[in-house]
């Protein structure tokens, strides 16, 4: 694989959920959870995906994994389109793309031992003999900071941070090239969050992993990401290298989001951009720019024409008529 080829490329990803009135009724309305999202992730890169609750960021992660079926769009994993693969084909590709879930409690089967949980992916793909699998599980336990003798314990005997380490070990077992983290630390205590984040970064260096890191905590995202994408109502409004996004955000929504991050120094004050109103319903997204209903700088054009996501030469892309600094190609 050439270094320039992205590990994961997503083009025009759409996921609509139909609201069904009854068992046999036809879908009357569509929730546009994800409405045309495109991005790519290079080998060894972490893309942070942020946005407030309900903006569709978790759905993007699940649609990429085909844990939910995308309505439209294309997901390319290591140069291969996986959107049209059948069940068996998709199972085979899961070796290369793994996931860490948000909730370390419900994502582990309470009836299986920790060792069985981490061994299961190896069993599914018939990797090695039973003895080799046990050795690999022991090595994975050691790598994520669990004691090998904890293999016979059940999930409820672990703490939240330890359970998330189990989830990481399970994701690592198959030797994937990319791991989708669906808010992998948001259910953990702050001190434990740092441990898990650091573990993920160490593993990235060691195995050359790529991450799609879905989160709503901007501090965490700033720490782990190389590039950051901001989502609003099912669309990416800004995507940029970390430093550019955090130091000179261009989209008014990103500005508002960043101004809401608490400042660590008590005397330090930050100019707060407060948004009016609520997020519109994803069933009926506003026409034109989806953010115009709450945008402090909106002009009449915003209500009519949807701004395209345009990148400038530095790779800083913004979907805003007024702030986008790229000329339409």
């Amino acid at each position: 694989m050439s270094a320039s080829q992205p590990v994961l490329a997503v083009e025009g990803l759409v996921k609509h959920y139909g609201i069904r009135p009854g068992l046999f009724g036809r879908a009357r309305a569509q929730v546009r959870a994800v409405d045309g999202v495109s991005f790519s992730i290079a080998p060894g890169e972490t893309l942070g995906l942020v946005g407030e609750s309900g903006c569709g960021k978790s759905t993007v992660g699940k649609a990429v994994l085909r844990l939910v079926e995308p309505t439209a769009g294309r997901v390319t994993l290591e140069g291969e389109d996986i959107t049209a693969l059948n069940r068996a084909g998709m199972i085979a590709r899961r070796r290369r793309m793994q996931v860490i879930f948000q909730d370390p409690y419900s994502s582990l089967n309470p009836r299986m031992t920790a060792g069985d949980i981490v061994q299961e992916p190896l069993i599914n793909f018939g990797i090695g003999s039973a003895g080799e699998q046990r050795e690999r599980v022991a090595a994975l336990f050691a790598r994520v900071g669990l004691r090998p003798d904890q293999r016979s314990n059940y999930p409820h005997e672990f703490s939240g941070g330890q359970r998330q380490r189990l989830g990481i070990a399970r994701a690592l077992a198959l030797g994937p090239s990319i791991i989708i983290g669906d808010e992998p630390v948001s259910a953990l205590d702050v001190s434990v969050q740092a441990q898990v984040i650091n573990l993920m970064m160490d593993l990235q260096d060691e195995f050359g992993l790529s991450y799609l890191f879905v989160a709503h905590d901007l501090g965490v995202v700033e720490h782990i990401s190389h590039r950051v994408a901001v989502m609003y109502l099912g669309k990416i409004v800004e995507i940029a290298p970390r430093a550019a996004l955090f130091e000179e955000p261009r989209h008014p929504y990103t500005e508002a989001l960043l101004s809401a991050v608490p400042v660590s120094h008590p005397r330090q004050r930050r100019k707060r951009v407060t948004l009016k109103g609520d997020v519109p319903s994803p069933v009926n997204p506003p026409p034109g720019c989806r953010f115009h209903t709450r945008c402090p700088i909106a002009v009449p054009l915003c209500r009519e024409v949807e701004p395209p996501l345009l990148a400038d030469p530095s790779g800083h892309a913004t979907a805003c008529h007024l702030r986008s600094q790229a000329s339409p190609a």
Partner: protein
């Protein structure tokens, strides 16, 4: 990052002893012991019964309970004690058969209904239909179509029980399939058979065991009243229902004809139900954690 320095939590995971379980669940334990005694007496009936349950004795008709005949004799001079012990075999066989058959069939249909959306609507309407059939009418209909046999009784009792199991299993499958660990299993490439076997079905075991005990108790009872009504076990078989039905004619002069088989019937149904309640409490994960 430094290695985890979390202290080793070496929890002693000894299984709670038999005595401790007994103290914690006294009533279910008594139920289990009582049921065990009834089961052993039924299984050992050919060896421990003092008389042949079919042997008639014209001289010793309607003899009251006493030294020769512990529970007295019936109108044909047959020993009630021996007949009651043998009757336990019939009741037990029917109870266990119905419990196994209805849980097995119900599990299969319930899993399909719970997992496959398309099959769900159709299967559940059929189950609703089956639930609407009264067991007695079904038994009478089956008896009039075929000749009386224990197997027909088992089928007649099993059919109305199946929908209850189906509903239970379907509910469990519907809940479990939405769990994140099912999604996680899919993400690591788990194929359908293993997903079912390792992740979904284990959750149905505890409620099914409990349901099976209730079904067994109910089947024992239903067999008795079907036999009592003359649409159950063939009259020559000494089931508890048959003994009670025959004894009914002489209840005013020989009450022991119905008293003893009735006591056995009541004790068996009671002990199974008490055991089932106890199992429900023991197998409930929320309660089990405190054990």
């Amino acid at each position: 990052m430094s290695a985890t320095t979390l202290p080793a939590v070496a929890a002693p995971r000894s299984r709670p002893g038999l005595l401790r379980r007994f103290r914690r669940y006294p009533l279910p334990s008594i139920g289990a012991i009582l049921l065990l005694a009834l089961v052993v007496s039924a299984l050992a009936a050919p060896w421990i019964a003092p008389h042949d349950p079919f042997e008639m004795n014209v001289v010793d008709r309607l003899v009251p309970p006493g030294a020769d005949y512990t529970f007295g004799t019936d109108a044909y001079g047959r020993d009630i004690f021996s007949r009651t012990l043998h009757g336990g075999r019939v009741s037990l066989f029917i109870g266990v058969s119905v419990a196994i058959a209805s849980t097995a069939i119900g599990l299969l249909i319930g899993v399909v209904a719970g997992y496959f959306r398309m099959a769900d609507a159709i299967l559940m309407r059929v189950m609703d239909g089956l639930m609407a059939i009264p067991g007695i009418l079904l038994a009478i209909a089956l008896m009039s179509l075929t000749r009386a046999s224990i197997w027909v009784v088992i089928v007649a009792i099993t059919i109305p029980e199946v929908p209850r199991v189906v509903r239970l299993v379907r509910a469990v499958v519907l809940t479990v399939r939405e769990q994140v660990y099912i999604e996680a299993a899919t993400a690591i490439g788990t194929r359908f058979p293993r997903l079912m076997w390792r992740h979904i079905l284990p959750n149905t075991v505890a409620p099914l065991i409990v349901q099976a005990t209730y079904i067994a108790a109910s089947a024992v009872l239903v067999e008795s009243y079907l036999s009592f009504l003359g649409v159950g076990t063939p009259p020559e078989v000494p089931s508890w229902g048959n003994i009670i039905a025959e004894g009914r004619l002489y209840v005013q002069i020989a009450f022991w004809n119905i008293l003893f088989p009735s006591i056995f019937l009541a004790l068996m149904v009671l002990s199974i139900n008490v055991l089932g309640d106890g199992l429900r409490d023991m197998l409930d994960p929320r309660l089990a954690r405190r054990l």
